[in-house]
Amino acid sequence: MGATGQIATKDLRLRLRDRSAIIIGIVAPLALAYIFHLVFGNVLAQESLALQYGLVDLDDSEISESLGAILEQIEAEGQLAVTDFADAAAADAAVEAGDISAYMLLRPGLGEAAVSADEFTIEVVGDVDNPTATQILGSIASEFGAGIGRAQLSVTTALALLGGQPPPDVVTWGEEAAQSPAAFTFDDVSADTRQLDSTTFFAAGMAVFFLFFTVQFGVIGLLEEEQEGTLPRLLAAPVARAQVVGGKALLSFLLGLISMGVLIVATHFLMGATWGPPLGVALLVVAGVLAATSVVGLVAGFAKTAEGAGNLASIIAVILGMLGGTFFPVGQGDDFLSKLSYLTPHAWFMRGLAQISGGAEWTAALPAVGALLLFALVLGSAGWVLLNRRLAR
């Protein structure tokens, strides 16, 4: 093992002995993730949208039945639950009671209007306290209506071509048009709008938030050596300055990896966090730890004392953590805050994880990994130069 490894091993032993790294790197984020999960979990959880819907089919036509069939198909995919109601009053009562978030009301004459190319209405009635769920059901209704519209246009065109005689299977055409696969799908959405489930969100958020504190034990240790008088002895040894800086950076990297690794395993088994494909997660973690080490290294390069560096790094860690969406999602819109969050490694880590935790391939994390590595390269290079210059003084 070279001098870099010797210095990192020595420091790792010291940090494990004083337990500070264990507390900051593992205990605190794990405890906070669990507490946040308990307290705020339902606020952010996708499952809290409670996609419980109702269907009131007063038309009882083939068209209305086809809409019911579509809802049942989506229900079978586990995306929502549908309950049939005999009339609007029963459905209203269910909404009032909170049993369902919204319902579709298919009034008599809907099917007839659809096949005769007349205007028709699909009513959606929803809970005012759950506008998102109501909007989703409204979107389904609109898409169904658009499908009917396409069928009506096809039928009208066919009638014109056939001299006004309706073809015998006009109803079947309408049904097929309404049930076309393009009408209702729950596809993957873009990275900007994907969101982690609440458990994984808080687990990942706390892990990456505290990562920026954990890595301080390595790089800022260089300033502690300076203050405690051991640095001259290191530099008087046949050890290059870069090896001393490298040893500290290596410790930051190791502590970060250990911290993230333990948290990923612990939150998966203790809290049920779903981090995603191991390869993608590993790449994100490595890139994230490198970025965190670089940020703290740059701070250490500027600071005059270990205390000053620790304080400054902590302030920066909190600001970047808040801005980067480790406590609450900030990447859900196109607003200023969302754009600003791209300046933080935290945001890239969270977005990268959101990409892959929902079941996407590990390669979906690569853009975020690339961004994190860019942070590491730019900030790390600057920090490296500053710290080596510091030792040369």
Partner: protein, 312 residues
């Protein structure tokens, strides 16, 4: 004897302050060389350059023929540094501190293990080897600080005021340890502002003040520079006036006079004069009851050279 250290024309400035100005000295194998001067005289700056911690503005340093530079590891294996401040890790044990620094110096595992045992024995910490050093007394920490410096058996050991803030018992123990080092052929560069330490340990001393070496040589050389002499006080019975006259005629004696039951003799070198002086007393039938030798000390030399006391 071959020179282990050669420092030539060292100059180091910090802004407008010239901390070290044209300092040159050398140390031979097995020699203990002292840099004696008050705080701020340039001692630590000088040894920082020798240890490769500071780059001189001008001048050159070679250890065993290898140039010492801050940006190079060459030659540093031959140097052991004992900084003035404690340079040990409080949460590591004594043995772990030694092993860590031994590995940095590239010592092979088997040699390192036996050498750690030897050094712990030498500095009297063998029984406390597995205790964390934060539990050590101040003196024990100082001894470990020295032990780390000599662990890899350097050809040149640099000790920067190793007894500052140490209790008398530990101080004596440290000085005894240093005395043994030169016996093993190690070249020692010892800085201090304690005159008695320099006198006890150093074969040669450089008196440094305001970044300049004022004088350099053995203690006797330095004393002779300022004309200081040994004084011998012989307590005896008999005709002390006659004995004084006889003693005054001995070679190397500058003067002798009776004084209240004793004869006071001023000489160039008391140790060489003493046998002849004793013969002089016995041939006169005097009965000697006591002999005291007062050699001129470096404190007086420093005062003479700089016009101020060492502890100013």
């Amino acid at each position: 004897m071959a020179n282990v250290l050669e420092a030539e024309g060292l100059i180091k400035s910090f802004g407008d302050l010239v901390a070290v100005n044209d300092v040159s000295f050398h140390i031979e194998e097995g020699e203990t060389f002292g840099l004696l001067g008050p705080n701020g005289a340039g001692k630590t700056t000088s040894i920082s350059m020798v240890a490769g911690l500071l780059e001189p503005d001008r001048g050159a340093i070679q250890v065993s023929g290898t140039p010492i530079r801050t940006n190079s590891t060459a030659g540093k294996t031959d140097v052991g540094l004992v900084p003035q401040e404690l340079a040990i890790y409080p949460d590591l044990t004594g043995a772990e501190n030694l092993r860590f620094f031994g590995r940095l110096y590239g010592m092979p595992a088997d040699k390192l293990a036996s050498r750690v045992d030897q050094v712990l024995e030498l500095i009297g910490l063998a029984e406390r080897r597995d205790d964390r050093t934060k539990e050590y007394s101040g003196g024990m920490k100082r001894r470990l600080n020295i032990g780390i410096g000599l662990l890899h058996e350097p050809r040149l050991l640099i000790l920067d005021e190793p007894t500052v803030g140490v209790d008398p018992q530990s101080r004596n123990s440290i000085l005894e340890s240093v005395e043994h080092l030169s016996d093993r052929g190690m070249a020692v560069l010892y800085t201090t502002h304690y005159m008695e330490e320099a006198e006890r340990l150093c074969d040669r001393v450089a008196i440094i003040d305001e970044g300049v070496i004022k004088a350099e040589g053995t203690r006797r050389d330095l004393v002779s520079l300022v004309g200081e002499k040994d004084r011998i006080s012989v307590t005896a019975s008999g005709d002390l006036a006659q004995i004084s006259q006889l003693a005054a005629g001995l070679p190397g004696v500058f003067g002798a006079s009776p004084s209240d039951g004793s004869v006071e003799v001023l000489a160039a070198d008391a140790s060489t004069l003493l046998p002849d002086l004793m013969n002089c007393f016995s041939s006169s039938g005097a009965s000697i009851t006591g002999v005291q030798i007062f050699e001129p000390n470096l404190e007086a030399v420093f005062l003479h050279l700089t016009g101020k006391a060492l502890r100013d």
